[in-house]
């Protein structure tokens, strides 16, 4: 493999430096590096970050290839600056056996746009009744360490306790979709002032918070680590903050859309705003941003949830829940966290690459930008600002809430172990 010299890049937003890639590895970081024999990429003051890692992606394959495949999803990931994604288990069939996780893993390897680390289901068929063969998935070629019934909550306290205990044997982690099912029957949007007016079934904050409170206490009791998916309320932030202050081994993620959008948008009854957990209030958005800044929330995860057009081009109640996010995540984080002064680019690297890689044990990802490290890198034009155009997405689906919205930042280059997957904004 050839050499690549990235010239004049602000590494983690710092002073411009040159970064030399040799083969799969970063060979040198410094100023005035020798370009001899190397392809030169003029960074011109763009920001260089370690390749992003998404702990929460729905790639839909197998089963819903009409909305996304491993190929289209990993192309979307590369476009958004990601070098590793964790693929959720709610496929058809469910990723609850070694066979399914190995298939997804191999498809990711074959396509080569982005490492795909499958997440295994906690329970058979996501039904919450019987543990899936977690050990077999861990020992498979896919090497699963993150387990989640995402889309559904592991609501049975005993099953949750056993799962938390069981995965300790091999350093696994359970990622909980916190949603008390009885409190959210028929839920269509955040329960509050707007739902009362619109006559849409309410999804109360307490349905998330009560499960998080239970699970951090369970994790403490059995001495396990637990990860909270898509935390969405101010109350959840307080519970996680309290748990961390007690030394409980809990990590939490927030989605880009929960950092930016509120339930006021539902007044349009436009199902592009329908998502689970639902968009919350301005107060929640503020609390989530602060918590991401102070580290109470560890990471940003996209919950990239592709759906075919017809599943959103309908009345609210009939529409599917979810939004695509891989290709807009970094822009939304720049808008909500960087341009507001809450986080610098080193902080973004931490929340979107370093920490998610640590939580998911994604070897070779989320590493420092320094000599000897794997060349998983992303170059971002942070000066850019422009409207989101879904027609340009690499994802097979277009269900974005940001169509036409002006957002800052554009990923121009992505390298996966020294191989360019995105050059000048174009997939290779």
């Amino acid at each position: 493999m050839s050499k690549i010299l990235i010239r004049g890049a602000k590494v983690l937003g710092g002073e411009p430096q040159d970064v030399l890639i040799d083969g799969e590895t970063i060979a040198a970081v410094g100023t005035g590096l020798d370009a001899e024999g190397a392809e030169v990429v003029e960074a011109g003051g763009k920001v260089l970050l370690p390749g992003l890692v998404d702990l929460h992606t729905h790639l839909r394959e197998p089963g819903r290839e009409d909305s996304e495949t491993v190929l289209t999803g990993t192309r979307a990931a590369a476009s958004g600056g990601y070098t590793a994604v964790f693929a959720m288990a709610n496929t058809f069939p469910v990723a609850d056996t070694a066979g399914v996780v190995e298939q997804v893993y191999r498809l990711g390897q074959e396509h080569g746009y982005c490492d795909v680390q499958p997440i295994g289901a906690v329970t058979v068929g996501l039904e919450g009744k019987k543990l899936a063969e977690l050990g077999a998935m861990h020992e498979s070629a896919a090497g699963v360490t993150v387990f989640s019934d995402d889309g559904k909550c592991v609501d049975d306290a005993v099953i949750m306790r056993r799962a938390l205990e069981y995965v300790k044997a091999f350093g696994g982690v359970v990622a909980q979709h916190a949603q008390e099912p009885r409190l959210t029957e028929g839920a269509q949007m955040n329960e509050g002032v707007v739902s009362a007016e619109l006559g849409l079934g309410g999804w109360p904050a307490v349905a998330e918070e009560s499960i998080i409170a239970r699970d951090v206490l369970l994790a403490e009791h059995v001495g396990s680590r637990v990860h909270i998916c898509h935390l969405s309320t101010a109350g959840s932030v307080e519970i996680v903050r309290w748990a961390k202050s007690r030394g409980i081994d809990v990590t939490a993620e927030v989605t880009p859309h929960h950092l930016l959008l509120t339930d006021e948008l539902v007044r349009s009854y436009n199902p592009v705003y329908k998502v689970n957990p639902p968009l919350r209030t301005e107060r929640d958005v503020r609390a989530l941003r602060e918590a991401l800044a102070d580290g109470t929330i560890d990471i940003v995860a996209t919950d990239h949830a592709p759906h075919p057009h017809e599943d959103k081009d309908c009345e609210w109640a009939a529409a599917a829940m979810g939004m695509v996010g891989l290709e807009t995540a970094l822009s939304v984080v720049q808008e909500t966290m960087v341009d507001t002064g809450l986080l610098d680019w080193a902080g973004v690297a931490d929340r979107m690459s370093v920490k998610p890689a640590q939580i998911g044990r994604a070897t070779g990802h989320g590493r420092p930008v320094s000599a000897g490290e794997p060349a998983n890198l992303v170059l971002v034009d942070t000066q850019y600002r422009g409207p989101v155009d879904p027609a340009r997405f690499a994802s097979r689906s277009r269900n974005t809430p940001y169509e036409g919205r002006e957002l800052p930042g554009r990923v121009t280059h992505t390298w996966l172990r020294g191989k360019a997957t995105l050059v000048d904004g174009k997939l290779t």
Binding site: G192, G199, L200, Y269, E315, A317
Partner: protein
């Protein structure tokens, strides 16, 4: 007036009074031997009912026919919708047939709004009840009934309901009638109090322009009209209240309670009533109960709405008279 009628909250005071005044003109037509006006001749209106509601459908149908519109009834049962056709495809099919207005009843809150704001269809959209969201023509006919009874048929022309005290009792949480009435009555200057067990009041009600009480008995003496909402028996299975009997004892309107109301005060109900649950037969059949009037008024209100949305700006009846004369 806007091009569509989706929510009672979209109406200004002047819009609402114009509709009520127009409905009075329409009501006069109903007193004639021949109850038909040629106003909407040649216009096609489809009644698009995704939920069963014979009452509302025939009320609209009567209104449309009295205005001489061509009427198409579309019910979801046994239609392409039950075979999985989407709202969008149904709408586009109707659009292709050249429909001028769509009267839609749908189980999903927001479906009429979606229809009106999407690019699926050009026709005027009239909400005939969507999920637990809105039912604006019901609120209008209720306001019409109140104005007639509390202000007067002739004295009411041009008037709103300023200062009238209206109490709405029952399952507010699941009620599009309650939402629409709170919006419209507030616009018309009335003071609204909602009475229900706390389980049947939505979280977030605090921003509504009304009072909320859990005690019916203390509210009745301060009411000019008491509107009882239907309470479905199944609600007790979801623990909204313990038993039917307990609900009736605490929130049902019987003769003793009716006696606590001021003498001029009326009892209203959007129907269908569950006798023995929220209202006793004694009250339902009393002189003070306006249920049957509300049905008659519903036709006049729907004629007024259709006329104002589709028929133009000239006075409905005088224009009709002229046209009728020309025809002879």
């Amino acid at each position: 007036m806007q091009r569509h009628l989706i929510s009672a909250a979209d109406l200004t005071r002047d819009d609402a009074v114009l509709i009520l005044d127009t409905a009075e003109e329409m009501a006069r037509v109903a007193d004639r031997p021949i109850k038909k006006l040629p106003t909407l001749r040649g216009r096609t209106i489809v009644n698009l009912f995704f939920e069963d509601s014979t009452r509302t459908r025939i009320s609209f149908e009567a209104a449309e026919k009295r205005l001489s519109a061509d009427v198409i009834n579309f019910t979801a049962k046994g239609s392409s919708v039950s075979k999985g056709e989407s709202l969008k495809d149904t709408a586009q099919t109707l659009e292709a047939m050249g429909v001028d207005a769509v009267v839609i009843r749908h189980g999903a809150s927001g479906a009429p709004y979606r229809l009106a704001t999407s690019d699926w269809i050009d026709a005027a959209v009239i909400n005939a009840g969507d999920g637990t969201h809105q039912h604006p023509t019901q609120a209008l006919l209720d306001a019409f009934t109140m104005r007639r009874r509390l202000v007067g048929r002739d004295a009411g022309i041009g008037q709103d309901l300023a200062g009238r005290r209206i109490t709405i009792v029952g399952d507010v949480l699941h009620s599009r009638v309650a939402r629409s009435n709170v919006d419209l009555l507030h616009t018309l200057g009335a003071e609204v109090t909602l009475v229900a067990p706390p389980t049947l009041v939505p979280v977030g009600v605090e921003t509504w322009p009304c009072e909320v009480s859990y005690d019916l008995d203390s509210t009745l003496p301060k009411s000019d009209a008491v509107m009882m909402l239907r309470v479905q028996r199944e609600r007790m299975n979801a623990a909204f209240f313990p038993t039917e009997r307990e609900y009736s004892r605490r929130y049902g309107l019987d003769g003793d309670r009716m006696a606590k109301m001021p003498e001029h005060a009326i009892v209203m109900h959007p129907g269908p009533m569950v006798r023995g649950m929220e209202i006793t037969a004694e009250v339902a059949d009393s002189e003070r109960c306006t249920v049957v009037e509300q049905v008659a008024n519903g036709v006049s209100i729907r004629m007024a709405v259709l006329y104002l949305l589709l028929g133009g700006n000239e006075p409905a009846v005088s224009q009709a008279r002229t046209t009728a004369t020309e025809e002879k």
